[in-house]
C-alpha cells in the first residue's frame, strides 16, 4: 500500500500563491473585458508575487531549523526561503516593468500568467531536495520562460530568441537530467543528503560524470561560460521586461540551487567541484567582460555583463564555506536590483524611441530624463562594484570568501575582470551624459514621451535597494548568515 506523505502546505505556500495567480490569470485572459484586462492582469499577477513574498518571509521566520518535508522531496529551511523571497521580490518589480510594455492586447493575460508560473517554478526549484523535484522545477520555469521570450511576435528577434533559448535550454535540461540519472545509478539515491551520505562517493567515475553533467546543466541556466551561448541572443531578442526577469530571478534560482546541491550532495568531491566552479567562474569573467567590450546594443552588452556576473557570483560558491554562502545571498540582493533596474531604464528608452537601444541613441538621455539617468548611472557603478552601492559590499564579501578558502588568485581573476568591465559600464555613462544629443536623431515623431509611473516606481525601488544595501549591510548579512547556516559547511 502506498502511504500518502504528510504535506506541509505552508512550506509550499510561496509557490502555490503564484500557481493560484497563474490559474486566475488564465481565467482573466478569457473572462475580463478587453479594456480593463491589462490592469486586472497586472494586479492579479502583482498580488500573486506579493503574497508569495509575504509567505516566503513568514516561512523564513518560522523555519529556523532546516528540515526535509513531503517525503524528502523538498527542503524547508532559511536558505530556500530567503532565495524565494528574493525571487518573489524580483517578480513584483518585473510586473511594474511589464505594465507599460505595448503588448498585443490579446496576449496580456497569458503573459502575466506565464510570469507568475515562471516565478512559481523558480520558487519551487530552490526548495528542491531531490533530483526529481530539481528537474521538475527546472522544466517548470524554463518552459514558461521559453514562451515568454517569444511572446511578442511583433518584435524583431523575439521568436528567434525564444527558439534559441528553447533549443539550447533543452540541451541544458537534458544534460542535467542525464547527470541526475548517472548520479542515481552510482548511488541508488535521489535525495541530496542521502547522495552525500552514500558510501559510493568520491571515487566512482559514474558519480563524477553525473556531478559534472549536473553542474553543466545548472551552468546553462545561470548562463556561465562556456554554457552562455544562448544568453546574448535571448536577452537581446526577448521583450525587455522578460529579459529583466530572466537576468535576475533565473540567476538567483540557478546559483542558490547549485550551491545547495554541491555542498549537500557532493561534500566528498569538494576538491573536484570547487576547482570546476573556479574554472567556470574564470571563464565566465573572461568571456563576459571581453565580449561586452565591443557591444553597441545595450541589452546585448548587459547580457554579456550578466555572464560575467554569473562568473563573479560563482566565486563564493567555489569558496565552499559559510562566508561564501553569506556572500552569495548578499550579493544576489543588490545584483537583482541593479539588473532589473538597468533593464527597466533600457525599457524606458526603448519605449521612447521605438527601436532597440544602442550606445549611440542613448546619448543625451541622462540630461533629458534626469531620474532615469542617475538611476542608470547608479546601476552601472553598482555592477562595477563602486562604493555607495551594494555591488561594492557584494564584491568585497565574494573576495573575502575566496581569500578564506585560500584562493587569492581567484581574487586576482575577479579584479582583472572588474577592471575590464570598467570600460563598458562607464561607456554607458559616457553615452548618456557626455555626448551631445543633437548629433543623433532622438525623439520619434509624436511629441514628448509619456510619463510612465509604473516604470518610475520599479526603478526607484531598485535604486533604493541598490544604494540601501550599501548602508544597511548588517541586517542583510544577518539574514544571509542565518540562511547560510542551513547548509552543511
Amino acid at each position: 500500500m502506498i502511504t500518502k506523505p504528510h504535506v506541509d502546505w505552508f512550506a509550499l505556500s510561496p509557490s502555490l500563491a503564484l500557481l493560484a495567480a497563474a490559474g486566475t490569470l488564465l481565467m482573466v485572459a478569457v473572462l475580463v473585458p478587453k479594456r480593463i484586462r491589462k490592469p486586472a492582469s497586472a494586479i492579479v499577477c502583482g498580488a500573486g508575487f506579493v503574497a508569495s513574498l509575504v509567505f516566503a518571509i513568514l516561512l523564513d521566520d518560522k523555519s529556523p531549523h532546516g528540515s526535509a518535508i513531503i517525503a524528502d522531496a523538498m527542503f524547508r529551511d532559511r536558505w530556500a526561503a530567503t532565495a524565494q523571497a528574493i525571487i518573489a521580490a524580483c517578480g513584483v518589480v518585473a510586473v511594474f516593468i511589464s505594465y507599460g510594455e505595448r503588448w498585443r492586447e490579446e496576449h496580456v493575460g497569458e503573459y502575466y500568467a506565464l510570469l507568475a508560473a515562471a516565478g512559481g517554478g523558480m520558487i519551487f526549484f530552490v526548495s528542491a531536495s531531490n533530483l526529481m523535484t530539481l528537474f521538475l522545477g527546472l522544466e517548470w520555469f524554463s518552459i514558461s520562460l521559453y514562451i515568454m521570450c517569444a511572446i511578442d511576435i511583433d518584435l524583431v528577434g523575439s521568436l528567434e530568441a525564444g527558439l534559441k533559448y528553447l533549443i539550447i535550454g533543452a540541451v541544458g535540461s537534458a544534460t542535467l537530467l542525464f547527470g541526475s540519472a548517472l548520479v542515481y545509478g552510482a548511488t541508488g539515491q535521489l535525495a541530496f543528503d542521502k547522495i552525500g551520505a552514500s558510501p559510493v562517493s568520491s571515487h566512482s567515475g559514474l558519480l563524477v560524470a553525473g556531478l559534472a553533467m549536473i553542474l553543466a546543466g545548472l551552468a546553462f541556466k545561470v548562463s556561465a561560460a562556456p554554457f552562455h551561448m544562448w544568453t546574448p541572443d535571448a536577452y537581446q531578442g526577448a521583450p525587455t521586461p522578460v529579459t529583466a526577469f530572466m537576468s535576475s530571478a533565473t540567476k538567483v534560482a540557478g546559483l542558490v540551487v547549485a550551491y545547495r546541491i554541491l555542498v549537500t550532495a557532493f561534500p566528498h568531491d569538494q576538491r573536484l567541484w570547487t576547482w570546476g566552479i573556479a574554472v567556470i567562474a574564470c571563464a565566465s569573467l573572461a568571456v563576459g567582460n571581453i565580449a561586452a567590450l565591443t557591444q553597441r546594443n545595450v541589452k546585448r552588452m548587459l547580457a554579456y555583463s550578466s555572464v560575467s556576473h554569473a562568473g563573479f557570483m560563482l566565486i563564493p560558491i567555489a569558496a565552499a564555506n559559510a562566508l561564501g554562502g553569506r556572500a552569495l545571498l548578499y550579493y544576489l540582493i543588490p545584483y537583482c536590483a541593479m539588473s532589473l533596474g538597468a533593464f527597466a531604464v533600457v525599457a524606458a528608452r526603448e519605449r521612447e524611441l521605438g527601436e532597440p537601444v544602442t550606445l549611440d541613441n542613448l546619448s543625451g538621455f541622462g540630461w533629458e530624463r534626469p531620474f532615469f539617468g542617475i538611476a542608470m548611472w547608479t546601476f552601472m557603478l553598482g555592477f562595477l562594484g563602486f562604493p555607495l552601492t551594494g555591488g561594492f559590499i557584494g564584491k568585497f564579501y565574494a573576495f573575502a570568501a575566496a581569500y578564506q578558502h585560500g584562493w587569492w588568485w581567484l581574487i586576482v581573476a575577479g579584479v582583472l575582470g572588474t577592471m575590464v568591465s570598467a570600460v563598458y559600464y562607464l561607456g554607458v555613462i559616457r553615452a548618456m551624459y557626455m555626448r551631445e544629443a543633437v548629433e543623433y536623431r532622438l525623439a520619434p515623431a509624436g511629441g514628448s514621451p509619456p510619463r510612465e509611473l509604473m516604470l518610475g516606481i520599479a526603478v526607484s525601488g531598485c535604486l533604493v535597494v541598490t544604494v540601501g544595501s550599501f548602508f544597511a549591510v548588517t541586517p542583510l548579512i544577518d539574514v544571509a548568515r542565518s540562511a547560510a547556516n542551513a547548509l552543511p559547511f
Binding site: 559590499i393 559616457r430 549591510v473
Partner: protein, 545 residues
C-alpha cells in the same frame, strides 16, 4: 548621538550637494549657495584648529559606529595632526574652485555644483577615514564626480581624457581592494588604528600601485597630461592640488605606516622612480607648449619630490613632505585657476600666442608673479622650507638623492620663469588683445586667499612643520622595521609614546605582552616569582608594537 566635528566636515558638503540636487532653488542661486556651503566648511575647519591638540600625536576628533560587524568593519573617522592640514588644504582650495565655477557660470549648475560639493565631502572623508573599507569607499566615491566633471564640462578631448583617467585609476584602486581584503582578513579587522604591521610585499604593492597611479608617479602618469589639459581649470586645480595629495596621504598613512618591512625593501626602487619623475616632469614642464602643460608636468615633478620625502624614512622627510603637500596644493590650485582666467581672456593657453600680459594688468602680473616665485622655491618661501626639509631627510638615505632633488630645484626655476616670462613679459602675443582685462575683484577673491595662505606659510612654515606629527616621532617610529624580534635586557625608552611587544622570557612559554614606555627609563623584565630569585633582571626578546 554625538557628532564628531570630523563627521560634520565630511557630511556638511554632502548634505549641501543633496540640497543642490533636490531642493527647488532658482538656478541663479545655486552657485552662490554652493560657495556658501564651501565657505562654511572652511569655517568649520578653522574651528577645529582651536580644538585640536597639536602636542598630542594621537588620533583626535574621532567617531566610531559599527557598520558590519561580522568582518569588523566600522564607520571610524578621526584626524591626526597632519590630516588636519590636508583637510584644511582641501577645504580652502575647493572653496576657491567652487567660487571660480560660480564666477564663470558653469552650465547645468545643479549637476555641476552638487558634484563639486560631493567631491569635497569625499576627499575630506579619505583624509579622515580610519577604517580601510571606509577609506576605500571614499577613495572610489571621489572618482565618480571627477569622471563626470571632466567628462561633461571638459574641453574637446574630454572623452579620451576621462577614459584614460578612469581606466588607470580603476585598475589601481581594484588592486588596492584586493590588497585591503587580504590584509584586513589577515589582521581580523579593518580598523587602521588596530591593524598591525604586515610584511607581505604583494599587499604593499597593491596599495603602492593604487597610490602611485593617483599621485601620479612615474611611470603611472599616462593619464595626467590629458586629464589636466581637458578638465575645466577649477577641476584641474582640484586634481593636481588636492586629489594628488590623497595619494601621498595614502602612502604615509597606510603603505609606509603599516608595511615597514616592504617599505624598507622597496625604498630604493621607489626613490629611483620618484627621482625619475622629478627630473623627467621638470624637463617636460620646461618644454611644454601651453600653460596647463607646464603646471601639469610640474605637478608630476612635485609629486616625485614629495615621494622622495615620504620614503626618506625619517621624520625630517615626512614633515617636509607634509609641508610640501600643502604648499604644492595651494600653488597648483592658484596656478590652474589663473591659467583658467588667462585662457578666458586669450581663448588659448598656447605660450607661443601669449605674452605681454603684465602691461596694464598689475593685479594679474602681481598674483602670477608671487605664486610663481613661491613655486620656484626661492629662499624664505614656504616651498623652500618644504623642499629643504625633504632634501635634508632624503640626504640621510644617501647624498645622491639630495643632489638629484637639489638639481631639480634649478629645473623648477627654469620652467616657472619660462612660464612667467612667456605669459607676462616678452612681446605682446597674437592672442592677447588690448581689451583683455586685468583680474576682476571677484577673481582676485579666489586667488588671493590661496596666495595669502602661501605667504603665511612662508612667514612661518613651522605652523605645519612643527605641528604635523604631534611634536613627537611617534608616527614616524612605526616606519622602523617592527617585525624583527630583538634580544635585550632592557629597551631604551627614548620615546614615551612607543609601546613594545615583549615575548615571554621563559623558553618553554609562548605568548606576548605589550608594554608602554615610561619616559626616560629603560624597560626591563623582572622575575616576580619567589622560586627563582625574584627581582632579578632577565633577558628577553622584544619588538616595537
Amino acid at each position: 548621538m554625538n557628532l564628531s566635528v570630523t563627521t560634520i566636515e565630511i557630511f556638511l558638503p554632502v548634505l549641501g550637494a543633496l540640497v543642490v540636487w533636490l531642493a527647488p532653488m532658482p538656478r541663479a542661486w545655486i552657485g552662490a549657495f554652493a560657495t556658501l556651503v564651501a565657505m562654511l566648511e572652511v569655517y568649520v575647519w578653522i574651528s577645529t584648529l582651536g580644538r585640536f591638540d597639536f602636542s598630542n600625536s594621537d588620533l583626535q576628533l574621532t567617531q566610531q559606529t559599527s557598520w558590519f560587524s561580522d568582518l569588523h568593519v566600522s564607520y571610524h573617522v578621526g584626524q591626526y595632526a597632519f590630516s588636519v592640514w590636508l583637510v584644511g588644504l582641501t577645504t580652502v582650495v575647493t572653496a576657491c574652485c567652487i567660487a571660480y565655477g560660480w564666477w564663470v557660470g558653469r552650465e547645468r549648475a545643479r549637476a555641476y555644483f552638487g558634484l563639486m560639493l560631493f567631491l569635497l565631502g569625499a576627499v575630506v572623508g579619505v583624509f579622515t577615514a580610519q577604517d580601510l573599507i571606509l577609506f576605500y569607499a571614499f577613495f572610489e566615491a571621489m572618482l565618480i564626480p571627477l569622471y563626470i566633471l571632466v567628462g561633461v564640462w571638459g574641453g574637446p578631448g574630454r572623452l579620451g581624457a576621462t577614459l584614460k583617467f578612469v581606466v588607470y585609476t580603476v585598475a589601481g584602486s581594484l588592486l588596492m581592494l584586493a590588497a585591503i581584503v587580504v590584509y584586513g582578513l589577515q589582521q581580523g579587522t579593518f580598523d587602521l588604528t588596530q591593524m598591525g604591521a604586515s610584511n607581505n610585499d604583494w599587499i604593499f604593492l597593491g596599495f603602492a600601485v593604487a597610490f602611485a597611479v593617483k599621485a601620479p608617479l612615474f611611470p603611472f602618469h599616462g593619464w595626467l597630461p590629458d586629464a589636466y589639459r581637458e578638465a575645466p581649470p577649477e577641476v584641474a586645480a582640484l586634481l593636481s592640488g588636492v586629489i594628488s595629495k590623497v595619494a601621498a596621504y595614502g602612502f604615509l598613512r597606510i603603505a609606509i605606516a603599516k608595511f615597514p618591512g616592504p617599505t624598507q625593501d622597496f625604498r630604493v626602487p621607489i626613490l629611483v622612480l620618484a627621482s625619475i619623475g622629478l627630473v623627467y616632469g621638470s624637463l617636460l614642464a620646461f618644454r611644454s607648449p601651453d600653460i596647463r602643460g607646464v603646471i601639469a608636468y610640474s605637478s608630476l615633478a612635485q609629486m616625485g619630490l614629495i615621494t622622495l620625502g615620504l620614503f626618506a624614512g625619517n621624520n625630517l622627510g615626512s614633515t617636509g613632505a607634509v609641508l610640501q603637500m600643502v604648499n604644492h596644493g595651494l600653488i597648483s590650485g592658484a596656478l590652474f585657476l589663473m591659467a583658467g582666467m588667462i585662457e578666458r581672456r586669450a581663448s588659448t593657453g598656447e605660450l607661443a600666442l601669449l605674452g605681454g600680459f603684465a602691461r596694464g594688468r598689475p593685479a594679474l602680473a602681481t598674483t602670477l608673479m608671487t605664486t610663481g616665485v613661491i613655486a620656484l622655491a626661492v629662499p624664505l618661501s614656504s616651498a623652500f622650507a618644504g623642499e629643504f626639509l625633504i632634501l635634508a631627510g632624503v640626504f640621510q638615505q644617501g647624498w645622491a638623492w639630495a643632489v638629484i632633488g637639489a638639481g631639480s630645484i634649478v629645473l623648477g626655476a627654469m620652467y616657472v620663469l619660462r612660464l612667467i616670462s612667456a605669459v607676462l613679459h616678452d612681446r605682446v602675443g597674437s592672442a592677447v588683445s588690448e581689451a583683455a582685462m586685468d583680474l576682476r575683484d571677484a577673481e582676485l577673491g579666489m586667488v588671493v586667499p590661496l596666495i595669502g595662505c602661501l605667504l603665511m606659510l612662508s612667514a612661518s612654515p613651522n605652523l605645519i612643520s612643527g605641528h604635523a606629527f604631534g611634536g613627537s616621532l611617534a608616527f614616524a617610529a612605526t616606519t622602523t622595521p617592527s617585525s624583527a624580534w630583538l634580544p635585550g635586557v632592557g629597551i631604551p625608552c627614548n620615546d614615551a609614546q612607543q609601546k613594545y611587544e615583549i615575548a615571554h622570557p621563559n623558553p618553554g612559554k609562548s605568548g606576548t605582552t605589550v608594554l608602554p614606555c615610561t619616559d626616560g627609563a629603560q624597560l626591563r623584565v623582572v622575575v616576580s616569582s619567589s622560586s627563582g630569585g625574584a627581582g632579578k633582571t632577565v633577558s628577553f626578546s622584544w619588538r616595537p608594537s
